[in-house]
Subunit: 291 residues, 2 copies
């Protein structure tokens, strides 16, 4: 048994943040301070943690991040009002609506209001439609982070059989769409499976690269993967106060060529990609087009 | 060797058109005449044929269809002007831009202008974004026709392993997205493969249902499919003046449980679904919501 390569998202995110900090410094020379806004509605405890890690990471690279908090009782009109002001504010280069929203506020209707030029979460229907049309603008942070983490570890998806477990709008669906784009970070053969897939193990065993994003703790076990697989675990489940992924690390790692830890795998990459999108938005606003 | 079930799109489309004609008659009682517009730019010979079959089918069920022709030399502004007038015209319930457009006119930029409420081709970024967000509005006619044809032949996709060959924006990608929706016409385990898939045959042989939409004559042969597969051929290639599909019917049919012919399979269903979307658009405009 060979030890798998650990796909260290924390380390990769640190390198990315250093690269982004240099770009922010260049923008500052030109008088532009990248501005990110985060809308947090209600008091979901996990959201509080995510938002504060996004704030901290922003500050660390010189991005000015502000959080607008609305109470659980906020109306759709309250939320829409904030978004519409940010769509027009020249100091706001990008903004995100932290999900989930309280029941009674339709996230789809909210995301429809987000201007694609500032949609640094890449989750608005306009951004997803651009991706589906093969003309991606900002792409969702978690799938972007997954592809980036593989790329920085020398793992190409092009020409590979990638199995995505999970068909959610935030990770599984857009990831599949991105993996099918033309180019060296796409060109994969992609299978999407989910709760209605009869023999999940049989499908997972066909994967050269397996990405799991369903939100069920330790769903994927060692018997469900082939020897030498690359495993990316995008799950975040809280079990007895501990964060565990969708992959049973103890039984899967010994069979894997490479695997992400949870925590410290996909999570930090998601935040890094949000920052990357924000810096890119600021550069575009400053008339400097580069990725 | 058992004869496969022939998935007769011509027959299914005829039944659907009869159903739609009844709905059009009901609308007419209420003073509403469904109106479809088709924008045809340039003189692509295949497009001429497709457009005239759409006109004929519309007339057959009482939908008023008009074709607006622009020369090959038309500018983006000319195209945009037509779309913008149709977006506002109360007599136009739905319209389509016949693709491909002449070189030099960006189809994506054109489709961005189409109002989702009238996008009966379902190909605008807004419609594709709604689909990607799990909130489909009008869905693209060809993938819709494929799912409908299977459904009307008692073949459910739910829980099945469906392999889609082709990742184009018109068929492969939106079909994959639709097959992943929740519900009895979705819930499939979906694999998308394409020109960069190393061993296409090996992937195709995993399919219970195989859909081919790449535009390469007879790409899929008998050796590439498993015994008992259901095969849908969305290819239309002209060989020596004859229309042939992407599937080599002669070698695949003997191994298949069911298979579409070309012509007479997916093609007529595409036209029928365009009409279904148009009638639905007219019903919605008339304030009568039903599918």
């Amino acid at each position: 048994m060979i030890q798998p390569l650990i796909l260290d998202g924390k380390a990769a995110a640190k390198v990315i943040r250093a690269e982004l900090a240099r770009r922010v410094a260049e923008l500052e020379v030109r008088g532009v301070k990248p501005g990110l806004r985060i809308l947090l509605v209600g008091s979901d405890p996990a959201s509080q943690v995510y938002v504060s890690s996004k704030e901290k990471a922003s500050a660390g690279i010189g991005v000015s991040a502000c959080v607008e908090r609305l109470p659980e009782s906020a109306s759709f009109a309250d939320v829409a009002g904030v978004i519409e002001s940010w769509n027009r504010d020249p100091a706001v280069h990008g903004f995100i609506v932290q999900l989930p929203l309280p029941r009674g506020i339709d996230a789809y209707a909210v995301l429809k209001l987000v201007s694609p030029a500032r949609d640094v979460d890449g989750l608005s229907p306009a951004s997803l439609g651009a991706l589906a049309s093969g003309r991606p603008g900002f792409m969702p942070a978690t799938p972007l982070g997954i592809i980036e983490l593989l790329w920085r570890n020398g793992i190409t998806v092009s020409g590979k059989r990638v199995v995505v477990v999970g068909r959610g709008e935030l990770v599984g669906r857009p990831l599949a769409s991105m993996l099918l784009l033309h180019g060296e970070r796409g060109d994969a053969t992609v299978t999407v499976c989910h709760s209605r897939t009869p023999d999940l193990g049989a499908v997972c065993r066909t994967a050269e690269i397996l990405v799991v994003a369903v939100g069920r703790a330790r769903l994927v076990t060692g018997a469900m993967v082939s020897e030498g697989v690359v495993v990316v675990d995008a799950g975040t489940n809280s079990i007895d106060g501990r964060l565990v992924g969708d992959v049973d690390f103890a039984t899967v790692a010994p069979r894997a060529a490479a695997i992400t830890p949870v925590p410290g795998g996909v999570g930090p990459m998601t935040v890094a990609m949000l920052l990357a999108n924000t810096v890119k938005a600021a550069e575009q606003a400053a008339g400097k087009r580069e990725l």
